[in-house]
Symmetry: D2
Subunit: 106 residues, 4 copies
């Protein structure tokens, strides 16, 4: 996400004095709630989804993730890079290639 979008999310929250509601726990609930509105686009069928609806719900998930990064003072790239390093170890290419098994079942 570019700085412009990050700034507009921060200004939106600040203008409405909503930081008081953005506890980490409330944001975790919010991410799950929005993730399920996204899932709802695929409730009865994997295809035939409404792409405009998908875009809005995915955006909502990303906005609440940004709120949580801000609230906890986290750097998105830092936590993603750290997790990807862990994932590389959990899912070695030679074992995981072409398989959807959990790492515990590889």
């Amino acid at each position: 996400m570019k700085q412009t979008a990050i700034n507009s999310i921060r200004k939106f929250t600040a203008d409405r004095d909503w930081d008081q509601f953005h506890t980490p726990a409330n944001l975790a609930k919010s991410i799950s709630i929005e993730a399920n509105e996204l899932l709802d686009c695929f409730q009865w069928s994997d295809d035939g989804y409404d792409i405009e609806h998908v875009k809005e719900e995915l955006a909502d998930v990303l906005v609440y993730c940004r709120n949580m990064l801000d609230r906890l003072g986290l750097d998105e790239d830092e936590i993603v890079n750290a997790k990807m390093t862990k994932n590389e170890l959990k899912y070695p290419v030679e074992k995981a290639k072409g398989k959807s098994n959990k790492y515990t079942d590889l």
Copy 2:
């Protein structure tokens, strides 16, 4: 997310030949599943969470969101900016300031 992190996510998927599993519906499920592993950090208490665990689970949500953006050919900034413009209209400052009500109850 900077290009380096985006590239490492894409390479991780490509190296494992996992694009075949990354249908939009499967990624929507995955975002919800990871969002709930994040929520699990706050299951019985709003405080006293394990920040290292939170960082990993939030990273997982962000990684699957990136996979979905890639799969659907979406631009993160574009969908976030479009949604924030909608949110500005749904939650006018003068009505929403300091209130956690849904827009339908403002």
Copy 3:
């Protein structure tokens, strides 16, 4: 659920002094968390699920639903029957038959 199972759930909670954690909000989080462990059985494929795993995760959802009914003093049959009456009105047979559309799209 028969009274024997309901009693064993209640005794389990009472023996561990866990009523203090069973606020409605914490139970709502718990139901979502367990629902996503159930969803995890179907993350990458609709078929080929582990039925023993599905049984355990579905049971976990049902146990937390029972905890919530108890906490809020609700009667399961009463709330289900009331909701089914509403559903009958939202989804009239002649409009909904054979269609998976939301009631707002019928």
Copy 4:
């Protein structure tokens, strides 16, 4: 749930010819989606929830759980009792009493 409510759920589905949509995977998604509509009642506050809304969303979770039991030919009491027996072993009273830790942290 008493037989009357179970029967009304089954008749509702049969009348609308909806069994075709009730695959185990779709029902798992549906349980998660409804669990998050329930969670939504507690998004910004643990208290001050709308009990009528909570009743409806909890009922929706229970209805989809019943659909899944039916689809998989499972007996609710059997799977709940089996899981409670496992829980008794995972959370021995002497270790778990008054604590909300995961069994792996007891």
